[in-house]
């Protein structure tokens, strides 16, 4: 069981709750959602409570995070997109911190479950669709008809655009889910090799050096992936929001 690379994704109930036939138990996943939100919110609120004109080190981390996401959104969607800044900021921070929490041994990775990433992705697309129609009315449909396309090609292009739009929530959620899942499985598999090889005696211990080196290198790579996937999710969200604000591209 200890070497089963899938075991780390198991959801175990910590507090059984059933409401109206739905199992809404407080699980290890819920615990880490609470931890992610609690730690991020506490950090962001407490480090900025001094409101220092000259920031402390921790305050400047919060400010950097703010300016990073604000720059991302402003560059993609312009100043009009800044009304969605709290949403994009929350998404980026939540995914980043959840991913980083997943890097601790024995910690559960919230974003390794497709339902979580799908819920986040669909909330993004839902927001884009609702705001797009609210702001542009039917003009939002111009999103599917790029300007400057010859008349004959319009049906084909519209079909392609619709398919690409529909695949967005899927690609958005699967990208994050698959990256986190695959990374954690690979890490676990290599770490498992180290354990099983070392149990074979001296030759095994020497042979275990290679998977150990891989596991160390992969750990570094996974930290990069944890950040990169949060970044990708946030920047795609920014671009989709830009579509909702300026549908005629």
């Amino acid at each position: 069981m200890a070497n089963d690379p899938i075991h780390q994704f198991n959801i175990s109930k910590l507090l059984q709750l059933d409401v109206g036939g739905y199992d809404i138990s407080f699980t290890n996943s819920s615990l880490f959602m609470v931890a992610t939100v609690g730690v991020s919110a506490a950090f962001l609120i407490m480090t900025t409570s001094g409101r220092g004109l000259i920031p402390t080190r921790l305050q400047s981390i919060s400010e950097m995070l703010y300016e990073f996401v604000a720059g991302l959104l402003r560059d993609s969607a312009g100043s009009e997109g800044m009304k969605f800044f709290p949403f994009v900021f929350s998404l980026f921070t939540f995914i980043l911190v959840a991913n980083l929490f997943g890097m601790f041994p024995y910690f559960f990775t919230v974003t390794s479950h497709i339902i979580v990433t799908a819920a986040l992705a669909f909330s993004v697309i839902g927001l884009v669709v609702i705001y797009g129609f609210y702001k542009n009315g039917l003009g939002f449909l111009k999103l599917f008809v790029p300007s400057g396309v010859p008349g004959v090609l319009v049906p084909v292009v519209v079909l392609i655009e619709v398919i690409s739009f529909l695949s967005r929530p899927i690609s958005l959620s699967v990208r994050l889910f698959a990256n986190v899942l695959a990374g954690h499985i690979t890490l676990k598999v290599f770490a498992g090799f180290v354990v099983s090889l070392s149990s074979l005696g001296l030759g095994g211990i020497i042979g275990a050096a290679l998977p150990l080196a891989f596991a160390v290198a992969l750990t570094g790579l996974e930290f990069l992936v944890a950040f990169l996937q949060a970044y990708v999710f946030a920047i795609l969200t920014c671009m989709y929001i830009n579509d909702a604000i300026h549908p005629s591209h």
């Binding site: 939100v37 991020s40 962001l44 900025t48």
Partner: protein, 177 residues
Amino acid sequence: MTSTNTEVGHEAGAKAPFPPFQTETFASQLLWLALTFGLFYYLMSKIALPRIASILEVRSDRIAQDLDEANRLKDESDAAMAAYEQELAEAKSRAHNIAQEARDKAKTELDGTRASVETDLANKIAEAETRIGAIKTKAMLEVDGIAEDTVSSIVGELFGGKVTKAEIAKAVSGVKG
């Protein structure tokens, strides 16, 4: 891996479906995600982000203000520098004028003094020359008398005879001629 059956029993080991596809956990995950993410969004949009925004705004205002102040001071110092340089130039030209005037004045004074001294000297030289001329003429006239006296006494000593004054004068002027 892709089994999506709803069989409960992930504790059972290898037989359990892949955990991310255990649909019976979806309700709980969705609910807790909604609760925690909703709370996070609320805390961010109501507390953390406005606070950070105000911190950044205050700082950029302060920096802009300080830059303005620095620019103002720079303008002031530039103006002071220009005024200083202008004054310096004025003072220089004034000093130049004063020096020129002093030089001119000294030169004219010197010239005047020199001219008066020179005329003085010329007068004195002329006077001295006339006096020398007079003395010379007088001496020349006296030489004749001395010569006549000397001749008459020499003649008297030598010959014991008397020679008239007229003869001696005639002889002296004959020698002189």
